[in-house]
């Protein structure tokens, strides 16, 4: 039985939520503990998951530690990832994509500032699906990645170029009305998509 707020519990939580690999130093920093002790605990957890035949495993990659699926059940993961469900972007993801489309090139920090929420997960999803890509780097600390939309995005939207996006002014005044119309259009589009 683990103690309350055990190091294991904290590390598991961070690895659960992390989108990119994390180094043991970063983890040690976050839990304010000794780096070598954190590393040792991570290895124990890795051994524990393997011994218990969990569906996930801890892997130590060059860029850090990551929680990922166990290779034992890879065929089921593939099947699951390819399952045929009528997927669509959530409205939050669509808003983020729209901001990237209209403001490109734009950094994650700039989008976050506009949206008021962290968008790392959404940006990763959009990038994985090939709708956005890195368009360069901004100057400044950490040289943040600047994102823009891809050709695939334009193809899917039926546009020849970004210049063909609807002018935003038409959608501004009054904001409430614009929202309502967009909402209605979106609803009917969804119904069409679901029927299709």
């Amino acid at each position: 039985m683990r103690a309350e707020y055990s190091l294991e519990q904290k590390l598991e939580a961070m690895l659960t939520v992390a989108i990119e690999p994390i180094t043991s130093e970063e983890l040690a920093d976050a839990v304010d503990d000794d780096a070598s002790f954190v590393l040792e605990t991570l290895r124990q957890l890795r051994a524990e998951y393997a011994r218990e035949r969990r569906g996930f495993q801890l892997a130590e990659l060059a860029s850090g530690w990551v929680m990922q699926t166990s290779p034992d059940v890879a065929p089921w993961v593939t099947k699951f990832a390819n399952r045929d469900v009528s997927h669509r972007l959530s409205s939050a993801a669509l808003e983020t994509l729209a901001i990237i489309a209209y403001r490109q090139p734009v950094s994650r920090a700039q989008i976050t500032a506009l949206r008021g929420v962290n968008v790392d997960g959404v940006v990763r999803l959009l990038e994985q699906r090939g709708y956005i890509e890195e368009k360069g780097r901004a100057s400044g600390p950490g040289l943040p990645i600047l994102y823009g939309t891809t050709e695939l995005f334009l193809d899917r939207m039926g546009l020849a170029s970004i210049a063909d996006l609807p002018p935003i002014e038409e959608f501004m005044p009054p904001v409430e009305t614009a929202n309502e119309i967009a909402e209605e259009l979106f609803e009917s589009a969804l119904e069409l998509a679901e029927d299709a």
Binding site: V17, N82, E95, T96, Y102, R156, A182, A189
Partner: protein
């Protein structure tokens, strides 16, 4: 403070009555509330009752709210709401009282919703997704999304986010604050002569506006700018502007936030 009320089914402090009702030991349907109002008025009229300004003001306010809500309900065509069939046959005051109780309940519940929401927000979902190396042919996530929808999403995405609101009081003054009303009345009243409260609030849309006007009047009264005279019944409070040369120090009232 404690009002002792006497009804056919209950006699005792009003707090106890409320406790019994709210803990389901008594049914509000069985409690006519007219005596409660009568005792309000009786205490108001009892000159020997040594009451503090606070107590008296509280009496007046409770009575004002109940009477105002009642008049609101009795005026035809003022309320677009459907009639409450579940309340048909109730005494008017019982309906009002039940409403206050119910509203209070939802106010408490909305706090519970915030707690639930905050607790749910203590957990962060896994978002890493599938790792590289898996053969994934993703469905087209943009199916059905048109350029116009995207533009709409952009507008939603960049719209100003609401400022977090710290919950202070479940009574929401949507449009107008007491401070604003004090200012407005200090401009209007000097030109209106003597008039009744009823006349003043004519045309107001909501109960809360009426209450805000009432509070603003009490405010002006305490500032010595207005005289409030009690007529034959409480509902006919007469309002008179006292000092037309005095200007209002707005700094005294601008901190009020409904």
């Amino acid at each position: 403070m404690t009002f002792v009320v006497t009804t056919p089914s209950f006699s005792g402090p009003v707090e106890l009555l409320l406790h019994l009702i709210s803990s389901h030991e008594m049914d509000i349907l069985e409690v006519p509330l007219a005596p409660l109002i009568d005792e309000f008025v009786a205490v108001l009229r009892d000159e020997s009752a040594q009451m503090t300004v606070d107590q008296l003001s509280e009496f007046v306010l409770v009575a004002a709210i109940l009477l105002e809500m009642k008049s609101q309900r009795l005026l035809p065509g003022r309320d677009s709401a459907e009639p409450d069939e579940e309340f048909v046959g109730w005494e008017e005051r019982d309906v009002l009282f039940a409403r206050l109780l119910e509203l209070r309940t939802y106010a408490a519940l909305s706090d519970a919703l915030v707690s639930l929401f905050e607790r749910a927000n203590q957990s962060y979902p896994r978002l890493r997704g599938i790792d590289d190396g898996f053969e994934v042919t993703p469905p087209d996530l943009l199916a059905g999304v048109t350029p116009a929808l995207l533009a709409g999403a952009y507008v939603r995405g960049i719209e100003e986010k609401p400022v977090p609101v710290v919950r202070l009081n479940h009574v929401t003054v949507d449009a107008v604050t007491v401070a604003e009303t004090v200012v407005a009345l200090s401009q209007r009243l000097p030109t209106m002569g003597r008039l009744s409260f009823r006349a003043l609030i004519r045309g107001l849309e909501s109960r809360i506006e009426v209450i805000v006007h009432f509070l603003a009047l009490l405010e002006l009264c305490k500032l010595g700018l207005v005289d409030l005279g009690q007529g034959a019944t409480f509902g006919d409070v007469q309002i008179e502007w006292l000092d037309i040369t005095s200007s209002l120090d707005l700094g005294r009232v601008d901190s009020y936030e409904g």
